[in-house]
Amino acid sequence: MTTAPESDDRTVELDLLARITKRERAAFEELYTRYSNILYATAMKFLKEDADAQDVVQDVFIQIWDKAKLYDPAKGKPLTWALTMTRNRSIDRIRAIQRRTRLRDDFEKETVADESAGIREALSGVDASEKTQILRDAVARLSPEQRKVIDLAFFGGLTQSEIADRLGEPLGTVKARARRGLMKLKEHLGEKP
């Protein structure tokens, strides 16, 4: 299981970002050391291909170097910011591939297997840090239907209508499950120190 910097490291990471805005190379290198594995693991989770994952991680770090001054602490932790960039870029890449290839139907079986395995596989992990255990507990409290929708949305990179098509459920049902599931996740994670 991926090891993330502990939450009490936030102050250190905020300081690193502040120093990066002043173009301090040492700060950037330290942030790379802290984040590279988890960002790479995240990109690999989405893209499955090493070359694609490396490109995404490279882009994210360049973005951090160029845009550190735009980071707003009020919008989340530095790690969350970096993870969100990684996910968004990974999904952009997946969607670009899908648009160009139009081969989803041919490989639907494979794709469905990969996507549905996302949270389920993660929940079965045994080597959890305290942080990931808390997260697992929170995810485990979601209903299977909510978990499925969030899994397809977060790890599958599908749009809301694509999720509805994939699950054979009305769009309104999918949207409601996404809302309730994510609100529940936020509540449970918020309960923890």
Binding site: T2, A41, D52, V57, R93, R136, V139, T159, K186
Partner: protein, 238 residues
Amino acid sequence: MTRDQIEELAALDALSVLEGEDLATWERVRGENPSALRLRDELADAAAQLSLLAPAATAPSALRQRVMDRVFGGQSSEKTVTEAARPFGFAAWAAAAAIVLLVLVGASATTRQKESVVVRDARPDPQNLQISLEGYGDYAKAKAHVLWDSGQRGWYVQAGGLPALPATHSYHVWAVDADGAVHDCGELAVREGGLARSFVQPGDGISSMQGFAVTIEPVGSSSPAPTSPAVLISVLQG
């Protein structure tokens, strides 16, 4: 708009799944309602933590140097992993069949194999090039597609129906350029169910690509050309 509706749009945006009319509605709501935007950020923060459930992986050591070079200047600053290959001229696809067939099926292929070549795709759209590969002989049920990604400057190879190979051999992708020269595109690893996917870049020496093929090669082989007949091949009607 009710609280539930705002929560729903915020959650969907946090998951990056909004589209169409809902997206337009959300753009308006979040502009008028700072608390909606705050909620969206909180939900995005919760969602982003799902990334921590990704299986552990260690970033390749070479990536660090590449990132540092890119940020602080260096030899590799101009390229990403998937940026290296040049695009091919789409008009050149018209000549692909004969070259690919001769080079990759060549003398070792049977007449029956040559006659069974099927044209699947040769669309003259440089933004969306896609070509199908057909399987032959024992591999007749296999199929593959090669797709040009202009954004990433390379080719995606996706294959299905590939039989498992003994540990001593692996599937290998080859590209053929305008001069008929064969370029090694690397191994095509087969996953469960005979499915395989790879991103390939034959290298900087290619000015235009003409076709692709898949052969079976000994593991670890450094042969610059195929050592066996193609089991999958892309061809055009001749």
